[in-house]
Amino acid sequence: MNEESRRLEVTPEGVFIVGSRKISLSSLKARKTRLESQILRLHREQIQLKSQIEANNKKIGELELELATFNSPEVLAWIERRERQIVEARERRREERKEANQRARVFLREYIGEEPYAKLRNKGFLEFKGSDGRNYRINSKGQLYCGSSRICVIHPRNLPLPDFVISVLTTVKEGQLVRR
């Protein structure tokens, strides 16, 4: 018999070329050993997976117990109460900011005078002289310009825009604008 042979096999599923190869004693033994070690390795992996599953199940149990305390009626009621407080506080802050802005607008009008205020509102900017003798321009967004150059000024958080305009105007007029 040849070392290798091929034949055609016709089945209802189709036509196949079926080959066979002679195997030596050493290859046979090696293949047998390989199969045994593969089976052993898979058994070992299965044992590890089983212990991992057990550990995971234990951990899941612990987490579920902990979660149950988080879902207790007392905790749920506290969460609801706290969330309501946060929403109310946010609303209150928004309302306070709105009122502060309104007060600041009225104040700006009183502080800089009717005419400059009207200029700022209608033209969108106000021109003034700095302590250095140069002409500055501040727009209704609080942006400061000297000629065509924009000067960067930090707008503190929560300071209403009209108050910020007064702050920038005064600082430049007093020559105290320091680059940080």
Partner: protein
């Protein structure tokens, strides 16, 4: 002392107005705001719009605390 001093604070907390203060109360307030916020303020007279170089509090004053703007 008559409680007629008003202090306007243009600060981090937003626009605040403190009315009917005695000059002493106004001075205390100004010092407290400055130390609490750790920022420099101009103290200006609202009527004259002038920045006061020295704080001399009298009755019937309207003072404005204006934060010194910082450049970027």
């Amino acid at each position: 002392m008559i409680e007629t001093t008003t202090v306007f604070v243009l600060g981090r907390k937003g626009h605040e107005e403190f009315r009917n203060l005695t000059p002493e109360e106004a001075e205390t307030l100004i010092n407290e705001v400055e130390s609490a916020e750790g920022k420099r303020y101009f103290i200006a007279d609202k009527k004259t719009q002038t920045v006061l170089k020295e704080l001399k509090l009298q009755d019937d004053q309207e003072l404005v605390m204006i934060p010194v703007a910082g450049g970027g």
